[in-house]
Symmetry: C2
Subunit: 355 residues, 2 copies
């Protein structure tokens, strides 16, 4: 089985974006009540939005199941306030749940959290619980910078975040560290802010004792870990200069990297420097890079091809990257898949109309 | 000849830091006049600060000359105002000039600019001219985020920066894109802010037409280009999706990467994906990582060893990386070295006492 641990619903019907624009427009109303207008998306619209995109690419590339979350750039935690963010997160997470119910063999849910700049992350506990316990999701995306490029909240290792981590650990789900869009003109979202977020989070972990406080807390750093594997020597050296433990001991029991690196030399480097147990297969399709690489004739984000071509990986290594590591990091995958196999229907789907 | 294009004076006598602390203390005086107290550092102190550090490492590693600039973390453009920054830049640049005068065979000067958040970069023109025309410096360091981790100024591609670029182009010197310290607790300086600055600047260049406006403007992106070479496929793909020209055509006539990547797999990747004409040798010694790698028994930042070990580089490639590319990007190196060889003494050194 091949599990793609990183996919976003980037192909939603336009009704979703129209709903969001209405919600944003309503923010100019000082009461900032969430929009009362309903969102109506039918099951057929959902099917249509996926059949020729994610589902076709799964078939063509031989990936079986995608851990699927709302569009990352769209999370927009910097827009409005905590109520705005909660309502928008519920809408987006409910859509993911409907997708997982329509295609239980193809998708498992990962939720967006209702973060908001300056608001204590404990505020996300309710939506996280709902998604994991009621909707059957297996993980969450955690935005290290809810301000969208202004980095105004404390680092991920600050106690500000601890009450949320307590719930994450209790629910036994990992968090993928994933920024959203950038409202800072310095940072292009997918070309700079995403990778900076990954690099920044790793260095926060390196300089903290967070994994002494939360021994079972697990983070997945996407986009191949930002700049980290390319600078693995720098990080080993900085840790040594700072009298920190070796990186393996310090954080590799808690920090994992995905394979969203879109060329062969990058995947070669990733698999050379990061232990195979810490690498999870992912493509982020349909995501940051949609085109075909003229140099190879294949999609840039068809990352399975690169992994297949790494000469030093054996079958056991690939099995870990494709499936085993995802099952052990996302502890709830096994239970979710066996329930589905056993024919148990998922919890009743939120009504497709009037969400 | 081996030219190390990236070294900072990280080993200055403690008098320099004490001066800076006095300057910062004086900022609480509303008049914010620069400190009147003199800085006194003797030539012998300078010699002592270099002999067992940079000069010893040059000898041991077989590098001939270092393009030497003030300590990057110490630039601290976010501290005080433009007057603070100007006075501090003059002090630091004068010290670099004295070093270049004491050791004309070992160092060429690269200046710190008196940037300050919100202050138009044209304000730096005077100090840049002084350093290049009077002190004989061959380049400058340009901070893409003078706010120190808040990224509050416009992107490097904004017209805000253009008057400074006009002078840079007129003087025929390149700018190394180099942030300073971070006053944002999210960003560790050398482990996150540096690499993020590199990645961010590259993406700004990719999305702009700055090199149509300044055809001869040259930027060196240090630290191996941040996350860029590791994600070269991502950048090629994003450019293609955005209907931008191929990266070679778009920016490789203007953007260069140094070799401050502290392990073999990183240098292998850099030299595999970036054309050899765009790679400049550098170590940043004595800099971000000072220790010896227990896995190899050599200093992490002894980057010449990694370049020597890349099997696909031939003598001509190495000659470009070590010397040729630096001479063509830093156009003033040739003139500076030939003047020194001809026995011309540099311009009179600023007085060693009472700077």
């Amino acid at each position: 089985m091949v599990i793609d641990c990183h996919g976003h619903y980037t192909t939603a019907p336009p009704e979703l974006e129209r709903y969001r624009q209405r919600q944003i427009k309503n923010l100019t109303d000082p009461s900032q009540f969430p929009t009362a207008e309903p969102l109506t998306i039918t099951d057929d619209q959902i099917r249509e939005s996926l059949e020729n995109t994610q589902l076709r690419l799964q078939r063509e590339r031989g990936t079986d199941i995608t851990l699927f979350s709302p569009r990352a750039v769209g999370m927009g935690h910097h827009i409005g306030n905590a109520s705005t963010s909660l309502r928008w997160s519920q809408i987006c997470n409910d859509l993911i749940f409907r997708i997982c119910s329509l295609y239980p063999q193809n998708f498992l849910g990962v939720c967006q959290l209702p973060q908001s700049p300056g608001v204590p992350p404990v505020n996300c506990v309710g939506e996280l619980e709902r998604c994991v316990e009621t909707l059957g999701f297996v993980g969450c995306n955690l935005n290290p910078d809810p301000s969208g490029g202004h980095w105004s909240d404390p680092p991920l290792t600050d106690r500000f975040w601890y009450p949320l981590y307590e719930k994450i650990v209790e629910l036994n789900v990992p968090a993928m560290v994933h920024v959203s869009g950038s409202c800072n003109p310095n940072f292009h979202a997918t070309g700079a802010h995403y990778l900076n977020g990954d690099t920044t989070a790793f260095m926060q972990f390196l300089t903290s004792d967070i994994f002494k406080d939360f021994k079972t807390l697990k983070f997945v750093i996407p986009h191949g870990g930002g700049a980290v594997p390319y600078h693995w020597g720098r990080y080993r050296g900085i840790a040594q200069d700072m009298k920190r433990p070796p990186l393996g001991e310090l954080l590799l029991g808690n920090v994992y990297f995905d394979t969203c690196v879109y060329h062969q030399p990058g995947i070669d480097l990733l698999t050379k420097v990061i232990p195979v147990d810490n690498i999870l297969f992912a493509s982020e399709m349909v995501g940051a890079v949609k085109g075909i690489d003229a140099e190879t004739g294949y999609y840039f984000d068809d990352t399975k091809r690169y992994i297949e071509a790494v000469p030093w990986l054996n079958d056991e290594d690939r099995s870990k990257i494709y499936e085993g590591n995802a099952r052990s990091v996302y502890n709830r995958i096994d239970g979710s898949l066996s329930r589905r196999k056993g024919g148990r229907t998922p919890a009743e789907s939120p009504n497709s109309a009037g969400l």
